[in-house]
Symmetry: C2
Subunit: 323 residues, 2 copies
């Protein structure tokens, strides 16, 4: 029997699951990601996951581990911004030595690429070719799945889709540039747009709902205010939808995708944002490319990275055909 | 002996060459592209090319034809904007019937993709993987070569790289959107930037050189004025370089390319534009991706599409290994 172990190391939580070859999950656990202790603490956590599942590495057909940062073709991880104290580290070799497990049965990859694999094989990507995944959360994760494989580029770092310019005089992005897609169409970006509008509209329902406190401002409360008919909330959603539509049109023109799958926390904002964004994308993209591209919401939410890590494990075990 | 026929149908001229399997050209001819008579006139021209070379289709190992517009995987061409009266046409079947030549030995493709193949196999792309080609001319042509093949997308229309947003309040692009890369970093875009600056600086050297006439304004005369020390000309070049730098940073973040190759008429503008653009790109792109990407000028200028058409012919003849 083939057993696959999928692990998704997130900035906040680490998720792990045991999967069979059909992608069905037979056990799942979620733990806080250690915020100190660096790589050793993560290794210890991975050891504990095996104990929790009462499994030894030798029971496992292959292991996939998703990491929130750049990962090269050899499993070297480069300074993941939300994992402190990692630096540039040969994570695959470290894990192999720690678990006494062959490197050839360990897949290490970027979490967005793994989320893309999850949607492609088992989710709403439905093996569309090409399939583009966007994860709209704290930042923007991107993956481009070409014929069932993530587009990796020279080093494995490709598809940093959140870091293309939407408006060069826009807000400063975490990457240092101004006006990247991520600076507009992420949790941070939407909240920034909202705050700029609300500061000038303190009579709005939304301003009252957050008690004038920046920290209370979230995509969720913005959607709630919109559902109650607040014009300020609608304005925020419409501005964000316009940027999202422009961004989607760019991706259609670049990749001629069969499908774009949108996941992450922001994807919960619902039809109020996605329907206008889709219309803008279809209008702005080149006609012959726009007509092929469907835009759908992701099937998996928080578990996409972990499921994709298991897919990567299946792939290195040569189980493509079974999926 | 293998003989390949490469044809590049341009909006203005049609170029044709006979190639051996090493990519060496043994005969070349350039003719004006018929501006009336539609597809029949083009077919007649292709017949004349065979006569000119004193060849019959049966002498040819394979034929490649580049077209300036969308071409799908079956060789159907969709309304090329600069070829009047084409519409949506099954060009491969038409050519095969006209020449009495098997469709399996005819490659029809987009001219930018073919220029990408030319640079990848025989030019300054030097088999870098991935390699991105930009042709900066009247518009922007784009190609992404992944492992020796153009990235095609679902239909064959991918890599419309000129139609991604650089500044959403920028000039209207030919595609209907505002502020696409093509609206800034093409012949048309540069001339527009220049005119806006010169109208406010009628004492400039460049204004004098063009006698205040819009029609005299070209990238070439702008470069000449810059070489004579004209501040207005420098300003135009610097503005364009900034947009080009932003655009290149986007492409680095999207594709993690090993190399970006820049061709087309605008690439003749020289170091004054390309050196600052490269610096901006390296500064704005994500660090781990920027360090892998070299940016070079194309080897082939006007003949890239034709050479790439011959490469496509070699590929369908199964001659990959020999190249």
């Amino acid at each position: 029997m083939s057993i696959f172990f999928g692990i998704d190391i997130g900035g906040t939580n680490t998720k792990a699951g045991i999967f069979d070859r059909n992608g069905d999950i037979t056990a799942f656990v979620e733990n806080p990601t250690p915020q100190s202790g660096g790589i050793e603490a993560i290794m210890a956590l991975i050891g504990e996951l095996f104990d929790f599942f009462e499994l030894s590495p030798k029971d496992i057909t292959a292991i996939g581990i998703g990491v929130p940062g750049p990962v090269d073709r050899n499993g070297v991880v480069y300074n993941p911004p939300n994992l402190h104290g990692w630096g540039e580290i040969d994570f695959k070799t470290l894990i192999a030595n720690f678990l006494k497990y062959p490197t050839g049965k360990i897949a290490i990859g970027n979490d967005a690429n793994y989320a893309g694999l999850a949607e492609y094989y088992f989710g709403n990507g439905a093996r569309a070719d090409p399939m583009v995944l966007l994860t709209l959360g704290t930042g923007i994760g991107g993956a481009v799945i070409l014929n069932g494989e993530p587009m990796t580029g020279k080093d494995g770092f490709a598809a940093e889709l959140g870091h293309i310019i939407i408006a060069p005089d826009g807000p400063r992005c975490g990457c240092g540039r101004k006006g990247c897609a991520e600076a507009f169409i992420s949790h941070t970006g939407i909240v920034k747009t909202a705050w700029d509008i609300l500061k000038k509209d303190k009579g709005s329902l939304l301003w009252g709902m957050i008690g004038g406190k920046f920290d209370e401002l979230t995509p969720k409360v913005i959607l709630e205010a919109a559902n109650l008919g607040d014009p300020a909330a609608y304005k925020i959603i419409n501005i964000t939808a316009r940027y999202l539509g422009m961004f989607l049109a760019d991706l259609i023109n670049i990749f001629n995708p069969e499908r774009i799958v949108i996941g992450g926390g922001i994807s919960q904002m619902g039809k109020q944002m996605f329907e206008p964004a889709k219309k803008i994308a279809q209008k702005q993209a080149l006609k012959y490319l726009a007509r092929s591209a469907t835009i759908v919401r992701a099937k998996f939410y928080q578990k996409a990275g972990m499921i994709g890590a298991a897919v990567a494990a299946m792939k290195i075990a040569g189980l493509n055909a079974n999926m």
